[in-house]
């Protein structure tokens, strides 16, 4: 029997109650703590901070808990919170060269000044389920054999190529930086804006886009020149003081890719660059971001637009935000009785005309 769909007030209240129960799960089990999430789900926390574009592990962990582990829902909670915060000003550019690296590798040179640091990575683990983790007590060796915390200089590898003029120089300076969280995006967007959008774009979308460049849709032959992850300090100039002070530390992942040559009759050939920078430890997203950044630079580097999705600024920038995408995709489950009704009436009218015409023809 038909039950009317209208009458939402009570239904919503009850749905929220039920949701709260489902989120909590079996009350006989201890509730998971936000600290446990920060400590033991740190890559999930990284992703929520990066795509939520708010560096706060505690709030990210809270959002993950509140969202029952649905990361896009958690990212949404963080975005909705961050938008209510005041913007005090902007920091100085972070100096990733000064990063205290947990991990730093180059795929282009075997030995690099400062050394390769493997750091905590899943890269060389065998993906075999570790059934020991099923046990309640999850103890690990606390002693790790590491070289002394690297205090040596770790220059950017790509700068070494720069000395020889082998790689394209990047513009420096950042006057009149836009802010995608405060101004509407207008196209064409400059590179700084594109990178802002990519840095908080959906990991899956950017991964797919980056992957497509490797499979020939806007191919740009990338090498990972350097991938580093660690802690950088954030400094801000305080107008009243007249100098910059350190306001905190953040963990970031940075990827610089080295890509195919550019050159012409007058300009000698050079490598080109792609860049990725993401909050937290997020190598997959960061590498993919550098591929997409490079693909989007076709105009600036005098390449041809081949119609590849990853080269198409409007396509990438308008579709990479998972909060926008998930909202719009999921909104079609909202009532559409009215539009559907008008389609029904139109279809009946069109069919009636066609059937009349058919009968007249017979």
């Amino acid at each position: 029997m038909y039950v009317a769909v209208k009458g939402g007030e009570k239904a919503i209240a009850n749905a929220h109650k039920w949701l709260a129960q489902e989120r909590r799960g079996d009350p006989a089990l201890k509730s998971i703590s936000v600290n446990q999430i920060i400590q033991q789900m740190r890559l999930a926390v990284s992703r929520v901070m990066a795509e939520g574009s708010l560096y706060d592990p505690e709030l990210a962990a809270l959002a993950i808990k509140q969202a029952s582990g649905d990361l896009i829902e958690a990212i949404f909670l963080i975005r909705a919170y961050r938008t209510t915060l005041n913007r005090f000003g902007k920091s100085l550019p972070i100096e990733t060269e000064q990063m205290i690296c947990k991990r730093r590798i180059s795929a282009t040179f075997k030995d690099i000044p400062g050394g390769q640091i493997l750091g905590p990575t899943y890269d060389y683990t065998h993906r075999l389920l570790d059934f020991k983790l099923l046990a309640e007590d999850d103890e690990v060796e606390t002693e790790t054999e590491t070289v002394d915390a690297p205090s040596v200089d770790m220059p950017h590898i790509l700068e070494l190529l720069n000395n020889e003029g082998l790689i394209q120089k990047e513009k420096t300076g950042c006057d009149n930086l836009g802010d995608i969280t405060r101004e509407p995006m207008e196209l064409p967007a400059d590179r700084a804006l594109r990178l802002q959008v990519l840095a908080r774009a959906d990991e899956g979308f950017i991964l797919g886009m980056g992957y497509s460049t490797q499979r020939g849709y806007g191919r740009n032959h990338a090498f990972v020149g350097e991938l580093r992850n660690g802690i950088v300090v954030v400094e801000m100039e305080i107008a009243e003081l007249g100098f910059a002070i350190e306001i905190g530390e953040i963990e970031v992942t940075e990827c610089e890719s080295i890509n195919q040559f550019q050159g012409s009759k007058t300009e000698p050939a050079q490598f080109t660059r792609g860049y990725g920078l993401v909050l937290g430890q997020q190598e997959r997203k960061c590498i993919a971001m550098s591929l997409v950044d490079r693909a989007l630079r076709w105009r600036e580097l005098g390449e041809e637009f081949t119609g590849a999705p990853a080269q198409d600024e409007e396509f990438v920038l308008y579709h990479c935000d998972n909060i926008q995408a998930t909202g719009f995709v999921e909104h079609i489950k909202l009532p559409h009785y009215v539009d559907f009704q008008s389609e029904l009436e139109l279809l009946r009218k069109l069919r009636a005309t066609a059937i009349l015409n058919q009968e007249a023809a017979e």
Partner: protein, 291 residues
């Protein structure tokens, strides 16, 4: 009425953001039908669920406002309830279901049946503000087309509809021309509602959150639905009467009332329908299904 949440500013948005939105609204009112970019904020409800409308409403609200929220014409659909509760919680404004009582009405997909009056604001939630989007997917192109008033493609599309189907095959979000200048998407209202857009005493504001656009129709502004001399615009509604209030001029929702697929029709505008019933009008009753 829900308990107020004092952790947030009046009507949720901070004053800076409201000022930015009000500027966009003023510009939109000054150039009727023109889509003004604005720095849409993430709201605590998903994009596509009315964030544009909610931001416009939040920027317009003052404490003495009386707010009505409808979705599909109804005050009691889930999303309308959710948005109404949001403003009860964050702005502590009075709410109503009566169209005449409301100083601000936020709507999704309908214009109320009851005529609006001067001083009222009607805020539309807009999913895709660009009427040319499905003809030309690129924003950089469509902005140029608007700037040059280059609307030929739109007329070609409507003509092709007539060539294929004998009618213009757009039944909702039917494009309009505003004050002889901009072609505008009236949001996915059924084209039945289009005539109410024109010469309306109320201020009409359109907010598209995800797409970061605001546009407006100032009171008494002239709005014409696109058509051809030999294929004039026509309204479309089910040729039925409401089974609850007997109205034969309102827009109707079709409902399926049993497992055999029997159908009945009821007003989509719940306030209109219940006011009529309160005034003694009655329909044939839900039992009177159309088979």
């Amino acid at each position: 009425m829900l308990e107020a949440d004092n952790h947030y500013n009046f009507a949720y948005l901070d004053e800076q953001t409201k000022r930015m939105i009000r500027r966009a609204i003023l510009k939109a009112i000054s150039i009727p039908g023109y889509q003004v970019p604005f720095a849409s904020r993430e709201m605590p409800m998903p994009y596509g669920w009315g964030t544009g409308g909610v931001q416009v409403t939040a920027a317009c609200l003052v404490p003495k406002d009386i707010v009505k929220v409808i979705d599909q014409g109804a005050d009691d659909t889930t999303n309308a309830v959710s948005i109404r509760q949001f403003f009860e919680k964050t702005a502590e404004v009075k709410t109503t279901e009566k169209t005449q009582e409301a100083s601000l009405i936020q709507t999704r997909h309908r214009i109320p049946e009851t005529s609006l009056s001067e001083g009222q604001i009607l805020v539309y939630q807009v999913p895709i503000p660009e009427p040319l989007r499905f003809i030309e997917p690129r924003e950089s192109e469509t902005r140029k087309m608007h700037a040059l008033k280059e609307y030929g493609l739109m007329h070609v599309k409507l003509y092709e509809d007539i060539a294929h189907h004998g009618h213009i095959a757009t039944s909702y979000a039917y494009p309009v021309e505003v004050e002889g200048r901009y072609v505008m998407d009236p949001s996915p209202i059924p084209k039945f509602d289009n005539p109410k857009l024109s010469n309306c005493p109320a201020l009409q504001l359109f907010g598209a959150g995800r797409e970061q656009r605001i546009y407006a129709l100032p009171p008494y502004c002239k709005v014409v639905s696109l058509d051809f001399e030999d294929h004039p615009f026509s309204q479309l509604r089910a040729d039925q009467k409401c089974v609850l209030c007997g109205a034969d001029e309102s827009y109707l929702d079709e409902i399926i009332i049993d497992n055999a697929g029997s159908r009945a029709f009821i007003c989509s505008d719940t306030d209109f329908c219940s006011s009529r019933q309160a005034n003694g009008f009655a329909g044939a009753g839900l039992g009177e299904a159309v088979l």
